[in-house]
């Protein structure tokens, strides 16, 4: 078991290295160099540009060969130096420290919303298979899967903010992190981000529960005279959740990178998605590399947790 975890950690580091390398070279082969932004401001100030370009490139190490820059970058990353953000004039790490909480609360609440409702509706739908409730749940889960989340966000703003005036159209950053007002401000973003995942989980939970309802051990449990509550809550649910855990973890990276990104932009939430979006437009590559890498690390970490959790959830699985 220990050897297995060690192997998985090494593999995760390898994948993170691959993601970093791809990002680094993608940014460097692009036509615009990080020095260009500096240049524009310097020309505006009327300075001697030729001289300054050399100085700036030397300071940032851009005059060195590409592979040296690459190795330097890895070296400073390993020493905890994530670089300097030109567009916000602060170290990248500082910038991330300020903004990560906004992404974290949005993603955490959305996942809770999606997992809780998804499991609840999915199990209910399976137990009441082929009833009206099941058809309604299936119908709405199809709608939830198919509705583009950025459009859902706009429609929620249109109905609840513009027409009814229940919520604000923009996320208010002055609200304290753990307050009811902040929770209220997050209602629309959480529904926007969580609905697609919730609908998908509903379908998987339903399928998985149905499969387990037909198993022999369920018939045995029923024959023993156990009440429905125990049969469903204990025997069926525990087994049905196994494949669902994998689906949720797989979905997480999509939520972190696709959904949260767009949701933050629509509602003006200053999270990591928003700052990396701004950073791309400002050619502020240090931030882009950092956000990409952090996202990849988070995904890999949760994948690892899933695999380890599996050995406890399902005693039949043994990693040698």
């Amino acid at each position: 078991m220990r050897e297995y975890i060690l192997r998985r950690v090494i593999y995760a580091i390898f994948i993170a290295w691959g993601v970093f390398t791809l990002t680094f070279f993608l940014l460097r082969i692009g036509p615009s160099s990080p020095a260009d932004k500096y240049l524009a401001t310097l020309v505006a100030k009327g300075e001697n540009v030729e001289e300054l370009i050399a100085a700036v490139e030397a300071r940032q190490g851009l005059d060195k060969p590409l592979y040296i820059q690459y190795l330097d970058y890895i070296n400073s990353l390993l020493h905890g130096d994530w670089g300097w953000s030109f567009s916000t004039s602060m170290p990248v790490m500082e910038l991330i420290k300020i903004h990560w909480k906004y992404s974290f609360q949005l993603i955490l609440l959305s996942m809770l919303f999606a997992v809780f409702l998804g499991i609840l509706i999915g199990v209910y739908s399976a137990v009441k298979q082929y009833t009206k409730a099941d058809y309604i749940a299936t119908f709405f889960s199809f709608i939830g899967i198919s509705i583009p989340n950025f459009w859902l966000g706009i429609m929620l703003i249109l109905v609840f903010s513009v027409k009814l005036g229940v919520f604000k159209t923009y996320y208010d950053t002055s609200l304290p992190m753990f307050s009811l007002a902040n929770l209220k401000a997050l209602v629309l973003p959480v529904i926007t981000l969580g609905t697609g995942s919730m609908a998908a989980y509903t379908r998987y939970v339903r399928a998985s529960t149905l499969e387990n309802l037909r198993k022999d051990f369920v018939r045995t449990a029923r024959a023993k005279g156990l009440p429905d509550r125990v049969v469903i809550g204990k025997h069926v649910l525990r087994n049905a959740m196994l494949p669902v855990v994998t689906i949720i973890m797989f979905d997480l990276s999509g939520v972190v990178f696709g959904g949260a990104y767009l949701t933050e932009i629509i509602f003006g939430i200053p999270g990591l998605g928003q700052i990396s979006f701004n950073a791309i437009f400002a050619d502020d590559y240090g931030v882009v590399v950092a956000v990409t890498l952090i996202g990849a690390l988070v995904t890999l970490f949760f994948n690892l947790i899933t695999d380890i959790a599996y050995t406890y959830l399902d005693p039949r699985i043994r990693y040698e």
Binding site: P148, F150, I154, F277, T292
Partner: protein, 300 residues
């Protein structure tokens, strides 16, 4: 018609939702191909007819009267000339949406096709050669899977400039990982299946095994993957256009949505209409994909 195709056709059409999906997609394709010949120019600006609501709706405009110097409220009704209304520059939304259907299907089909070809080649190569080649290709697939796809898309389109063909190539070059894994595992398991072993023992020719048995078995997976991949690609392009990185030379659904988002309080229909089409298109492909998956699943 081929007996096999006929059989799967019947099984797919058993699902009413799949049939609905297929009908919707066929109509959308016809509209996308022939529609632009009947609607006007989607980029024709006409400020005299700006902000017209769709037929059956009316909104109140505040109009400043130069002579009296007073604001008067004018009720503007939708007209049949612009059945779906116009945007803030007076462009006809029907024409824009029809042109957007063309863009969405073009991107969806081409990018998915590219991803399927790359994925199939990598999957089959991986399964066929095994060993080091398999290992290297699958590790590369893992890296691509962990790589934040949407961020990558934004990054590349920003660096190299927004063009529809670039978007297609990038989605194609990054979207193949799922297909590669599925084709690989399918090819690996098929090789050892009893019916293939039996065919070898019975002396079937390689050609017959490959074309009569291997390809039809993998093909079903590829068809289902294609059907359920297309909506994802359409959404990716729409999301990209929505955040302002779409090809500025074409009227895509995402770009209309982007414009509509800024004027929700006045011209709400500009944001509502492309979204409904986007939603219905994704729903149709999901219904069809679901029906196809059930049809190809021999246990159902």
């Amino acid at each position: 018609m081929n007996r096999l195709v006929k059989y799967y056709w019947k099984r797919t059409m058993r699902s009413r939702l799949a049939a609905f999906g297929l009908v919707y997609i066929i109509i959308l394709v016809i509209v996308a191909i022939f529609g632009p010949f009947f609607t006007g120019d989607p980029n024709a600006v006409n400020f005299a007819e700006k902000n017209l609501p769709p037929v059956g709706f009316s909104i109140e405009h505040s109009v400043y009267d130069i002579k009296s110097g007073e604001f008067t409220t004018v009720v503007v009704k939708g007209s049949l000339k612009h059945p779906l209304g116009t945007d803030d520059k007076g462009r006809d939304l029907l024409a824009m949406l029809v042109s957007g259907a063309r863009v969405s299907l073009y991107v969806g089909i081409l990018a998915t096709g590219l991803a399927l070809i790359i994925g199939s080649v990598i999957g089959v190569t991986s399964a066929y050669f095994g060993g080091v080649v398999d290992n290297a290709l699958m590790r590369f697939t893992d890296i691509m899977m962990t790589f934040p796809f949407f961020l990558l898309l934004v990054l590349i389109v920003f660096i190299f400039g927004p063009s529809l063909n670039l978007i297609i190539v990038v989605i194609g070059l990054t979207g193949w990982t799922g297909t590669a894994r599925m084709v690989r595992s399918e090819a690996l398991s098929l090789r050892t299946r009893e019916f293939i072993q039996a065919l070898i023992v019975l002396g079937s020719s390689n050609k017959r095994i490959i074309f009569r048995h291997l390809i039809p078995n993998v093909l079903s997976i590829i068809i289902v993957t294609a059907t359920i991949s297309i909506p994802g690609v359409i959404l990716a392009e729409a999301a990209l256009s929505f955040i302002g990185l779409g090809d500025p030379s074409v009227a895509s659904w995402g770009r209309i949505l982007n414009a509509g988002q800024d004027s929700l309080d006045t011209t709400w229909w500009v944001a509502v209409e492309p979204g409904i089409l986007l939603f219905l298109t994704v729903l149709a492909f999901n219904f069809l994909g679901d029906g196809l998956r059930d049809a190809f699943d021999p246990t159902k």
